[in-house]
């Protein structure tokens, strides 16, 4: 369950710093436009600029390289995989060739260059996402989604999933430890069988908990309506100033990426 420990890393978003204080709508605007520019770029310049600026911003709130590295490693490896796949299928100039089990494979220069662009887009895009996740809680994202008129039902389900995820992770880890102490993971088949009963128990517990949660919520007045009790405050002067800075910054990046290069 090592992978799930990263989910708990949203504690960064609960910290009090200048990035977490920025209004969620302003951040979503910057990240949204940034992601669009990132995939629109035909050159590695824009993705690299997003990568570096996001990295610097995260450094200012003392997010360590190790923390970022753990998050970045999988997407970057995926980027390398894609670079190789595109390198094998696009272009004319062969830089490396050979056969594998009778199957002819050739890496081409043009394909590898396109792959490199994709790799930088992965780096830039993921860093932008990390900038959002390290500075914004899911509750604020739900509030922004409410403001953007996303269907309430979806926001409710998202809130429920996120709210109970941590409880279920904890319960799963406790059950896994118990199974391990009873030699539940000594062979492959035993492992699979243990995972089966673990998944079954998880379903049973989640359904019982859902019934209890609904009873408790109904007693407090829940009638199937919205569960978010906090609402976003109107944007103030400082938010508009940051929004304007974001627009200028994004325009500058676009100019650098699309016009100069």
């Amino acid at each position: 369950m090592e992978i799930l420990k990263h989910v708990v890393m949203d504690h960064f978003a609960h910290r009090d710093n200048w990035l977490t204080k920025i209004d969620v709508r302003v951040k979503l605007f910057y990240i949204g436009v940034g992601l669009i520019l990132n995939i629109l770029s035909n050159d590695i310049m824009i993705p690299l600029v997003f990568f570096v600026t996001s990295l610097i911003l995260l450094m200012t709130i003392k997010v360590s390289f190790v923390t970022l590295g753990i998050r970045m490693i999988m997407p970057l490896l995926f980027g390398v995989f894609i670079m190789l796949i595109v390198g094998l299928h696009k272009g004319e100039t062969v830089v490396l060739s050979g056969s594998f089990m009778g199957y002819e494979l050739a890496l081409r220069k043009e394909g590898l260059l396109i792959g490199l662009l994709l790799f930088t887009k992965v780096a830039g895009g993921v860093m932008l996402l990390l900038l959002l996740s390290f500075t914004t809680t899911i509750t604020k994202i739900c509030m922004a989604a409410c403001w953007m008129k996303i269907p309430e039902t979806l926001i409710e389900v998202l809130s429920f999933v996120y709210r109970y995820l941590f409880l279920l992770i904890e319960e799963t880890e406790t059950m896994m430890s118990s199974q391990r102490s009873r030699l539940g993971y000594v062979t492959w088949f035993k492992t699979i069988k243990s995972f089966g009963s673990l998944a079954g128990t998880l379903i049973i517990r989640s359904i019982i908990r859902a019934e209890n949660a609904h009873t408790a919520m109904a007693s407090r007045g829940y009638d199937g309506g919205r569960i978010l009790t906090i609402q976003l405050t109107p944007l103030v002067r400082s938010d508009y100033a940051i929004l304007l800075s974001c627009v200028i910054l994004l325009a500058l990046f676009s100019y650098l990426g699309f016009v100069c290069f």
């Binding site: 998202l158 996120y162 079954g200 049973i204 609904h214």
Partner: protein, 254 residues
């Protein structure tokens, strides 16, 4: 010899990469805008129908949303189980898709919504997948995974198979279809508008096949079977301990 060494390294990388990269989610930045928009348009009807079904059910059964949220969270945790890959003697682990399980319990349309929410959380808080690639990931994991798993389960039930085997087939088929969806999404990256349509399709199909073979030949082939067995055991366990749950969710007949 000079060429063989780097080439071998590349091949090893190709084989190892999907394990490390949790190949079922296409990561942020990979898709060009046209494909990102295409996949979003493709999944939109499923999300809309799923949301409408949720709304309708919420009106009928007031406790349905907490149930969907909790089962969604349970399936999310299930999808993070580190299942050891049998051929590698526990050196590598892979993660199940989980959509077969949620489709069996909540129906395919609601399962698409659950998958979308799970993918959104994963994109933000695990850096797996992404926001611009959410469309293709929902298509492969949500749409293909849920519908194939659901229909495999129902078909197996109609054939009169035991509950374990029904769950097994749902798990195997949904996992296979999820990877097929990811391979389609990635294979289409080599589709070039400049080429004639049949040639472009042929190039894409070749890439899809290669990616699918890489996925299946490494961890995901054995994982399909493992996920099937886990889902089979899980559903039989629930039926043995609390049959009422499956009856209430209309997974089995009373």
């Amino acid at each position: 010899m000079k060429r063989i060494i780097p080439f071998s390294l590349i091949l090893i990388s190709i084989i190892i990469m999907p394990n490390l990269a949790l190949g079922m989610h296409i990561t942020e930045g990979i898709l060009p805008p046209k494909w990102a928009i295409f996949w979003f348009i493709l999944i939109m009807p499923f999300i809309v129908i799923g949301t409408l079904k949720l709304k309708k059910k919420k009106r009928e059964v007031p406790g349905f949303l907490p149930l969907v949220g909790l089962v969604g969270a349970a399936v999310f945790v299930f999808s993070c189980f580190p299942i050891p890959v049998v051929g590698l003697n526990g050196m590598a682990t892979a993660h199940p898709a989980g959509t077969g399980m949620s489709a069996m319990l909540l129906g395919p349309f609601v399962s698409v919504v659950i998958a979308g929410i799970a993918l959104f959380i994963q994109a933000l808080f695990l850096a797996h997948g992404g926001l611009t690639t959410l469309g293709v990931n929902i298509f492969s994991m949500g749409v293909l995974g849920s519908f194939s798993g659901y229909f495999a389960f129902r078909l197996a039930q109609r054939m009169g198979l035991k509950l374990f085997w029904c769950g097994f087939f749902a798990g195997v088929v949904s996992d296979l279809c999820t990877y097929m969806g990811t391979s389609i999404g990635l294979g289409l990256l080599v589709f070039e508008g400049g080429e004639s349509f049949p040639i472009a399709i042929m190039h894409s199909a070749k890439a899809m096949l290669e990616i699918f073979v890489v996925f299946m030949a490494t961890s995901q082939g054995p994982l399909c079977i493992a996920e099937g067995i886990v889902v089979g055991f899980a559903i039989s366990y629930v039926y043995k301990v609390r049959p009422g749950i499956l009856q209430n969710l209309k997974v089995v007949k009373v």
